[in-house]
Amino acid sequence: MDLLFSILESTLRAATPLMLASLAGLFSERSGVVDISLEGKILAAAFASASVAYISHSPWMGMAAGMGVAVALAMVHAFVSVTYNGNQLISGMAINIIASGLTPVLGLAWFQQGGNSPQLESDMRFHEIAWPGVDAVRDIPFIGPFYSHLISGHSIIVYLTFIIIPVVTWFIYRSRFGLRVRAVGENPHAADTAGISVARIRYTALFWGGLLCGMAGTFLSVYQTGGFIREMSAGKGFLALAALIFGKWRPVPAVIGCLLFAFFDAIQIRLEGVSLPMVGEVPSQLIQVIPYVLTVLLMAGFVGRATAPKAIGVPFVKSR
């Protein structure tokens, strides 16, 4: 029982950056801009937030810096995709590569630790928050571990994420802005005729996406590992993108996809070197690969059908 809850606890922890990035991708892709640069934005934000947290001794300043950098990259992407009508995929790829090249260069020059940031001290990091009464209920069966593993003992970013999920869902489906985002992503010409500025909506959507990627990066460096490590995003941006496709570009299913992928991640670590009855030892690479294979199968329509927003990836040209 305790094992189950501790697996679920690590699932939550691994899912948080994925969920944030996935929702970031949701904003951008729902507005019709392909975003394969989630990975690069997370990495750049992780670096900026760790550096600023280290200098300012404040995790919140770090988070602000991470968000700022991720938004700046998102604006580059927006300039290429919206103002310039350039190729969105190439722009995204460029941002990923720029981030993976620039972060270790600056890291090495500033901190002289092989491209990583120094380990953050206690006052520079986000910490687990223990909820009241954890010790009192810990021994009660079921409720105790549930409360202590899943409700209590997470970073503030995890709680923020679970507030953000319903807010984003509401935003996308119920708010005026969300309706416009979806309209612009499905049929920009119709939206344009109705007097909506396609460019402005897309810029705004990418801005929100940048903020969320900034949080995801901050979670990795200022909370999870307590410092920036080169290439620490390790494919999370692409995994989040996979979850977004897995969730068919809808917020709640995408979040469920993230939780599912994070769950695979959590059991993969537990199963390392463990021999299971009947099947023997499961190679860790097999479990690692599940999210990617699932996404490929889903894209190919073997497991349901994923339909992308109609205008995705197509630059909007006002009149011909």
Partner: protein
């Protein structure tokens, strides 16, 4: 000012002035970063060029890296001509390395070099093409997006190879995650060796006969893409899929074959790395070569001549950058990755950025 419009410049200017301006913009930003971290950009540039072209060994290494980049650049360009963005070069090279290694494991104990070398080349192309076939098939027949599928296939390839290295491929008792050394029969003749046959004394570098294969591939690429029926179909599908379909072309087939073509070209990069240089497969032998191919193809505007030139640029950046990092410990290999990203941004996504600024210079007088 209007951005993102098709270029109105004369063709020669589109092919020379714009890429050059884009390259200068990328280098200017790099110079800024170099200056920011407290080094002198001009001095670094001099060291870099000296490291890449200043002495025999440097030139050898530069051309060795160039060879690999030509292969992956051609691979990305082949897919681009069909309107496909192949990000999967990295995985295709990786799996091609598996093909090369399996061929060596099976035959290198008894087969002479005359058969061994063509056999391993075939194996690399076959495995690379097979790994690219699946995304191509899924795009053509099932409508999955090639970019997402090839990204996923990169990760799947990495996991598959991780598993195989752990369980099968790694040399028993070896300290590195690498296969055993392959027998000499499978080695690509090195440039030093070949120079010896002609009575030349060349420095000892990993540069090998793959360079000639790369140049032959460039010529074939030009012939196939611009002077064959299939190349015409390829470019038609890339320019306007609907038109191609109405003209009676089999779009699915063109897409699938284009991806296989791309995969096979990427696969050859594994021959250069493994049989030309290390003579065994290291776990990290691909080292981002597939992603460099994207920058190379974009900067070379998908034309073999442009690809050779931009591959040479990246080869020089890689070799010069390694030399530079010995003198300037602050500037590491990642600086080259950063430049690569900037070049992809300026040459690929913002290719006509400077067009509005220079267009007036080319206006005909009324």
């Amino acid at each position: 000012m209007k951005f993102g419009q098709p270029s109105t410049l004369p063709r020669w200017a589109q092919l020379s002035v714009l890429p050059l301006l884009n390259l200068l913009a990328a280098l200017a930003i790099t110079g800024l970063v170099v200056w920011l971290i407290g080094e002198d950009p001009w001095e670094c540039l001099k060291l870099l060029v000296g490291g890449a072209f200043g002495y025999g060994e440097g030139i050898g290494y530069t051309l060795f890296y160039t060879t690999g980049y030509i292969f992956t650049g051609l691979s990305v360009a082949a897919a681009f001509h069909a309107g496909l963005f192949n990000i999967g070069g990295e995985g295709q090279v990786y799996i091609a390395g598996l093909g090369v290694s399996l061929a060596c494991y099976a035959f290198d104990s008894f087969m002479p070099a005359v058969f061994m070398v063509p056999l391993t080349i075939m194996a690399s192309m076959l495995f690379g093409a097979a790994w690219a076939f699946m995304p191509g098939y899924l795009q053509a027949k099932r409508g999955s997006h090639i970019v997402v599928t090839t990204i996923m296939f990169n990760y799947i390839a990495a996991a598959l190879m991780g598993y195989l290295f752990n369980r099968v491929l790694m040399e028993k008792g070896g300290t590195n995650t690498a296969t055993r050394a392959f027998a000499e029969a499978s080695w690509m003749p090195s440039m030093q060796q070949m120079g010896g046959w002609l009575g030349l004394t060349l420095p000892n570098t990993p540069l090998n006969a793959s360079l000639f294969i790369a140049l032959i591939c460039c010529v074939l690429f030009w012939l196939v893409v611009w002077h064959s029926k299939w190349g015409f179909e390829l470019r038609t599908v890339g320019t306007n899929e609907q038109a191609a379909r109405f003209a009676g072309m089999n779009v699915s087939k063109v897409v699938i074959v284009a991806m296989c073509f791309a995969g096979a070209l990427a696969g050859l990069a594994a021959v250069n790395e493994i049989l030309g240089s290390t003579h065994r497969m290291n776990m990290t032998f691909t080292n981002g070569i597939g992603f460099v191919g994207i920058a190379v193809a974009l900067m070379g505007r998908n034309h073999p001549v442009g690809i050779v030139l931009s591959a040479l640029l990246f080869g020089a950046l890689t070799q010069g950058g390694l030399d530079l990092s010995l003198d300037k410990p602050n500037i590491t290999r990642e600086m080259i990755i950063f430049i690569q990203g900037l070049i992809i941004l300026f040459c690929g996504a913002l290719e006509n950025l400077f067009e509005p600024f220079i267009a007036p210079l080319f206006k005909r007088k009324p």
